[in-house]
Symmetry: C2
Subunit: 359 residues, 2 copies
């Protein structure tokens, strides 16, 4: 097992990463407040791991279990009201700890419920997907969807601890694992050339689920995200580099209808496109663009979006821009490991990129 500390002053917390650590009560104990525990999970994850977690926490505190339907549909205000109702009916007070066991949806929903239930209770994350381990563990973003937009309702709420048991990845479908790898590769690209090089060399071990390799994957991803977030907790500016590949990805997801691609798959294509755009603007060398393309491809991730009229993609990028209330911003690379934020992208270059990586 390895641990790292996310440094946020009085809201600092540890991330524990290892195999089988779901069974170690001493990792959970320091993160629990004095009151009862609420275990929140979904109906796919609960049958696999909720029993084990209940066993680990048995005798620590009274436990209330809440299971919601798996899937993005549970990220809604209606579901928030339902979960809060179950907690109120169980007499859960402010001294409780909400423990979210599952993937990104459960982490986002559980974190948001913890943020607003009686104006905020303690939160503990037990991610069971690679994406949740490397993405949701750091940053404190929580929230649900509005019918008019994804993640449009939410709060910043830091967990008191993250406990990432790598054994839970055994039950993760291969495609979801590879989708999570897209975000892992992203951390190398935006902030850590050494980590990128390590992935190039160790991809086989990673894809085989080698335990030591996975510890390094999750640890380095969290450390890189923490380094970026620590410099910009409430998303003023720098943190935007975490969205590398995402302007394209959101347009791809929207234009193809949400659900065609997993999020990480769309991000993979978006990262390929953003690398291409960086090269066209003379920021990135052609050889580096090639390295990026090859690693994403070798990870079994898609590199091209469906060929639709460029106008279709551009329209969604502009909506994305409108929702953010500002100018359309691109995250580009000035080399592997160094991201920059710019609004200054000629539309001609953008259209060339879209044309080159759609098929």
């Amino acid at each position: 097992m390895t641990s790292l500390q996310v440094e946020l002053g009085s809201r600092s917390y540890p991330i524990h990463i290892g195999s089988g650590i779901l069974h170690e009560p001493e990792l959970f104990r320091p993160a629990l407040r004095s009151g009862p525990i609420v275990l929140l999970s979904d109906d796919q994850v609960a049958p696999l791991y909720l029993g084990a977690l209940r066993e680990t926490l048995r005798g620590e505190r009274p436990i209330t279990e809440i299971v919601v339907p798996a899937g993005e549909g549970s990220k809604s205000l209606a579901q928030v009201e339902t979960v809060c109702g179950q907690m109120l009916a169980a007499g859960i007070g402010r001294d409780a700890t909400l423990c979210a066991l599952g993937g990104g949806v459960i982490g986002d929903l559980g974190g948001f419920v913890a943020a607003i239930y009686q104006r905020g209770i303690a939160f503990l994350q037990v991610p069971t997907t690679l994406l949740a381990m490397v993405d949701s563990s750091v940053g404190g973003k929580t929230g649900v969807n509005h019918p008019l937009g994804k993640n449009m309702i939410g709060a910043f709420h830091q967990p008191r601890a993250v406990i990432a048991d790598l054994d839970t990845l055994d039950s993760l479908p291969e495609r979801e694992f590879r989708s999570g790898l897209a975000e892992v590769i992203k951390y190398g690209l935006i902030n850590d050339p050494g980590f990128f090089a390590w992935m190039e060399e160790n991809l086989t071990a990673i894809l085989a689920g080698d335990s030591e390799a996975l510890v390094h994957v999750v640890h380095s991803s969290c450390a890189n995200k923490a380094a970026v977030v620590a410099r910009d907790e409430l998303e003023g500016g720098l943190r935007a580099i975490l969205n590398y590949g995402h302007t394209f990805a959101h347009a791809i997801e929207a234009a193809t209808g949400f659900g065609t691609y997993l999020h990480g798959e769309a991000v993979a294509i978006g990262m390929v496109m953003a690398a291409d755009l960086s090269r066209r603007l003379d920021l990135l060398r052609e050889s580096e663009q090639g390295q990026i393309f090859r690693l994403i491809q070798a990870a079994g991730l898609p590199t091209h979006a469906p060929r639709l009229p460029a106008e279709e993609y551009l329209r969604y990028m502009r909506i994305d821009k409108k929702a953010c209330g500002g100018q359309i911003r691109f995250i580009l690379l000035r080399g592997i490991g160094e991201a920059i934020i710019t609004g200054d992208v000629p539309e001609a270059a953008l259209r060339q990129t879209l044309s080159a990586f759609t098929e």
Copy 2:
């Protein structure tokens, strides 16, 4: 006009208090972020003051107006979703400022929407009731009701400024004005003997709506609340003294069916009861109890609750206790101007108080 600064580090903000200040754009300007303004109000307040506020802000920023039904029913997650939907449809981004024009419901709802819309936007309060001016202006509490409990969903979100135009009190029904006075008297009781003495001497001017007296009422109330909150922003302990009279008040409101008493009226009775209990426990002198009783009575506020079996009131106090996840706590007085928090109240004394102040 007078102003005071609520000191909360990087989240410090000014409260401006005066007559006609709704018409002064220079008070609003420093609190606006770069993006559009959302004006939120209800269908009782909007016809009275929304036009004036629109006029004041004209030319500053694009304005989106949202009007919800007046009344406690608008403090719901469903209403939050509706308001967020109107904001999304209008393309409101993170650089917006939400300005809440109205009483406590609009402040609570607007503050909560501002707290969670795209994970938080700027918030500006323009309270139009005495209660909202003296209670909601300080503390950062926002939130809505859950069908299973009042204020059970919420967030701490500080405004960037509070602009309390005393002229808006002209349209406030007399009964609501007196109800607001209950909280004003509370600040004297828990924290400020000088302010209590001033109220004893100036009650006539206050009840007549004298402008100078009202400035002092609102300023002293906000200053006292700010002093308490500054020492305990996230409600660890001391802040609980702000709930003086409220344990009784909640039981009275629940036992009589919400709506029989205005909140401040129930608080008035609760403060009389808590003073009586303090005297029975030899904390408060009988002469001081008499002063408290007389001021509350002279303010035209009720001093006795309906005679129901004591068990009825006690049951609701215990539910209140359960919802707070801990022991039943009483805020008592060790003299006018000094409140203490205690869980150590013999049930016999409590029953005597309930019997003495029900009729």
